[in-house]
Amino acid sequence: MPAFAGMAKWVVGTNAMHELTVSPWASLAYLVAGMCFILALRGLSSPASSQRGNRFGIIGMTIAVVTTLVTHVPIVQHLLVSDTGPAVAVRTIDWVTVVEILAAIGIGAVIGLVTARRIAMTAMPQLVAAFHSLVGLAAVLVGVAAYLNPQAFGISDLVIPLIGQPFAVIHPVSRIELGLGVAIGAITFSGSVIAFLKLNGNMGGKPIMLPGRHVINIALLAAILGLIAYFVTDQSAWIFWTITLLSFVIGFLLIVPIGGADMPVVVSMLNSYSGWAAAAMGFTLHNSAMIITGALVGSSGAILSYIMCRAMNRSFISVIAGGFGQSSDAGGPAAASDRPWKRGSAEDAAFLMSQAEQVIIVPGYGMAVAQAQHVLREMGDKLKAEGVRVKYAIHPVAGRMPGHMNVLLAEANVPYDDVFELEDINSEFAQTDVAFVIGANDVTNPAAKTDKSSPIYGMPVLDVEKAKTVLFIKRSMGGVGYAGVDNDLFYRDNTMMLLADAKKMVEDIVKALD
């Protein structure tokens, strides 16, 4: 008796019109998975509900994967030739493939879990970029698989000619969805690889600008869209591969001219694209879990990009057009101005802060680079023990990724109710005795409010100069911030520069506080 004849009603089939038909139970399961993902994001409205939300995400993913495995059991068909009767087709489970699939999941699980355990929080931006590249590549691979075996995905009609091999004609709408899916997936992949290299320091943070790059990019984009449209009329392989190849190229070309510190916008943008790629695949496969997820992730990335751009007061187009900013290691000529500035020592800083009623600490990317978050928290604890109120002020674009500073402070055991966003804490600087700036630069520059000629004019900044005293940690007076401008803050009367490596300086302050 052919095994698992009863499985037929679970298996995805195609109806008379050769459209993908999925069992209603499977569709329902995918819908539930989508709901779980919505709840996962909803949980992030506060740290209290966030861990429960993450569990919903895991449940949703499990539902989606198990449903797929159960409705797509790999089946192999044998022809049983018997002496007494006609040949019989027997279908049994293809155990080899089952093992291969489980092994693939297992390998991925091990790599993923080990990486998650080991990664330093200061390397989160690179990790996220690397993960995005995997989603992009997976989308491309699924798209290619759908192109090579469209019957399995139910997106084609089989044509059996009188002579020659049968071949599949992919539905026109599916061709558009497929084309978009591989294009967006490829852009996500190559763009994320470049973002990873820049964030990880393998590639300089300086923007690399090719001559005529805007023309090249627009031409490539037009070519890709044009080919996708043409693909509808002609499903030849060369068109499909060209779309894929051009998309890889444009992903690379788009990200290469963007400076290192604009990466928060880039990573958010690529996050968004990985969502749209998943959505496009969801349309191709008529899968509601993928469509819902794609929409969620796409909107999430888009909103984060918008928030980042607003916080820098630059338009999204200007960021993507690239060419802005110096790399953080562009030592540059010594600050051109001969304006006088005050220098302080760790003991001065310790004295000022221990006498203060309130100290606001302003961390930035430099703190992450110096890995100073733990000693910073120690300093905060010592100050609190002396009765000083300690708060942390985070600018939205501090760091290389949205929310990066918050994670680093959380890792250092800073309670999250001591940490405030710009809008909530900016008015307090005027009543604060000491503002302690460590690793942030452009986001504290008062020129953004007053100097119309400055490239950072109009950018929302933290009003640190309103504090009674400002302590600013920097390695040396030479060199400029990311925007290439000197910081007016340094030369004010109430500012004291602490010139040393951030971690060393804070350690010295901690010693002096004893």
């Binding site: 995805v12 569709s27 994001l41 992030l44 740290p47 861990q51 995400g57 895991i58 993913m61 797929t68 495995l69 797509h72 059991v73 493939t97 699939i101 693939a104 999941i105 991925g108 699980a109 993923g112 879990l113 990486t115 998650a116 993960f131 995005h132 995997l134 590549l137 997976a138 691979l141 699924v142 698989a145 075996n149 469209p150 019957q151 399995a152 995905f153 084609s156 089989l158 599949a168 990573v267 996050n271 990985s274 969502g275 959505a279 969801g282 349309f283 496969l285 469509i291 997820t293 929409a295 999430s300 984060l304 985070i394 949205p402 929310g403 959380a410 890792e411 055991n413 109710d417 966003e421």
Partner: protein, 105 residues
Amino acid sequence: MDFIAILSIFVLACFVGYFVVWAVTPALHTPLMAVTNAISSVIIVGALIAAAAPTVLGAIGAGSGVAKALGLLAVVLASINIFGGFAVTARMLAMYKKKERPVAK
């Protein structure tokens, strides 16, 4: 499902996404990126379909053997993202603590 039905789901999901993501507190934007990356790996569904598909008539070009291999590779990549993404998110979320209230004044 016909195209209009899935388009409707997509549009509604975009609306939901808009409101849900704006409600995420800025302090949790990094875990947001990590978890959205993890859930976007639901593309593993497509990869599993490719990997489990039987060899059928009508496969273009090299045939569905290549499609299956690519599907398996995509399963590995997506699994890395799923397990790694949720694990790193959980690790980050566990770090966020409130101020400890003093036991006695």
